[in-house]
Amino acid sequence: MTAAATSAAELAGLPESPTVGAGGQEVIHVTRERYLEVTGALRDAGFEMCADLCAVDYLRHPDRPLPEAVTPERFEIVVNLLSLERRQRVRLRVQVPASDPVVPTLFNLYPGTENMEREAFDLFGVCFEGHPDHTRILMPDDWEGHPLRKDYSVGRVPVQFKQAPGPR
């Protein structure tokens, strides 16, 4: 998976300049405001599949290395797009502040992100505005907290089952 001759940012005519990550992978840092627009431009440029979407909690690394123009926030949404025709991947990283963890949903562009966004919400508590079924997907519906957040203490909550009688 080496960097392709034409970068995805060039293909879609984006002002954002891409960086190259480990293994020669193209990474585009995009602000929350431009997230939908950039993803839509990339889809129109031939990136027809959203291979993966996940969240990362950088609670313990607020000063991680990022390009200068990017303000680090606690959460990141990482989207991997794929162009079948050009055999090319591109990764988007969006900074999401902990005080307002909301990003627009990609469901209308890529219906395949439905489960992935629900998983990111369930485990990290990042909300996806406009998602058609914004519910938990892995944890029980009445679960409290978001287990993959770095400040979620392990073993704090006893194991819960749906409809089980409460603690006596």
């Binding site: 480990a22 992978q25 027809e48 291979a51 219906p111």
Partner: protein, 325 residues
């Protein structure tokens, strides 16, 4: 995770860790990885044919499928020590070299399986009940499959020739000759046919792995990542220290983030790994193909009969261990 293709799970994590470490692995370990994962693909697909037969009330297919899978699992047990969850493919190479006489074991597998697949082909493909339950049932168009992020046999059955082994070759898949199997209709029957023919293609790849298997080391001799050879521990204090450090503390991976993807029997198996310079991954996200492929069920089932649901769910081949991970 996916307990029917455990070696693929190990491979995708190892590839991600190696990409962050920036280490090269010796050619023999690459080819051993290819050999083992292709055998794993055969066992996974044979297992799918067995459970699919069971779902469609062909009990004999179930018995045959389990029988054939056991052949491959016993070779895995001989090589790795365990039938499943091998911990065999590790960052830096593989855990052990292939056992003595592995060529004979592997050749007997790839000489038996194609003949058996021909039998199953006759047993199921020619059977009117099986055809009526699968043909024209649960159709998905290539456009919809792509939009739903479906990969693997579901996408290929709808006519999109997308196989990561061919499209974005990892390991040494660009050096072996095989066909990417595609369907034309995208129905349950096509998904069955794609998987069955992929068993034949995997047998071809395994044969080429046996022919081309290079000599050499089965893991990178990087003192910080792989343990030293057993003989060195007795004579070198330093080797003993490295051995102790690797098994107590592990190894440190330089900071960075990487996404690697491989073609598992069910589709694109991805690993997004974030390292912060410590000896543990800061974040590891697995893109499980079963989890993503299950999204295709509503469009596949819409407008169909309740009885078809069983055939369609079976044809998506979800492994629940990979759905909740």
């Amino acid at each position: 995770m996916d307990y029917l293709s455990p070696l693929h799970n190990e491979l995708v994590f190892s590839l991600a860790a190696e990409a962050l470490l920036g280490i090269e692995i010796p050619p023999r370990s690459t080819w051993i990885r290819m050999l083992m994962t292709e055998l794993n693909r055969i066992s996974s697909h044979v297992m799918w044919m067995a459970t699919n037969g069971m779902d469609l009330a062909s009990t004999s297919m179930m018995i045959y499928g389990f029988r054939d899978r056991e052949m491959i699992l016993s070779f895995f047990e001989k090589t790795t020590g365990l039938r499943m969850n091998h911990d065999y493919i590790r960052p830096g190479g593989v855990a052990a070299d292939l056992p003595d006489g592995w060529e004979d074991d592997v050749m007997s597998i790839v000489e038996t399986i194609p003949g058996r697949v021909d039998e199953y082909d006759e047993l199921l493909t020619g059977q009117p009940i099986f055809k009526r339950r699968t043909e024209g049932v649960g159709i998905i168009s290539p456009e919809l499959a792509t939009a739903m992020s479906a990969t693997g046999p579901i996408l290929r059955a709808s006519g999109v020739a997308w196989d990561l082994r061919r499209a974005m070759p990892y390991l040494a898949y660009d050096e072996v000759d095989f066909d990417v199997i595609v369907g034309s209709v995208g129905d349950t029957f096509d998904r069955y046919a794609v998987r069955m023919n992929e068993i034949r293609e995997s047998c071809k790849i395994v044969r080429q792995c046996v022919e081309k298997m290079p000599l050499g080391d089965y893991r990178a001799q990087d003192k910080k990542v792989t343990p030293p050879p057993r003989a060195r521990i007795d004579e070198s204090m330093e080797a003993l220290i490295h051995h102790f450090k690797i098994f107590t503390r592990g190894f440190e991976v330089p900071p960075g983030e990487v996404y690697t993807a491989i073609e598992s029997p069910r589709g694109e198996l991805g690993c997004y790994l974030v390292a912060d310079g410590s000896n543990k991954p800061y974040r590891m996200h697995i893109r499980g193909p079963s989890f993503v492929n299950l999204q295709s069920l509503p469009p596949l089932l819409r407008g169909g009969l309740i009885a078809d649901a069983i055939a369609v769910i079976s044809s998506v081949d979800p492994v629940m261990g990979e759905v909740d991970r």
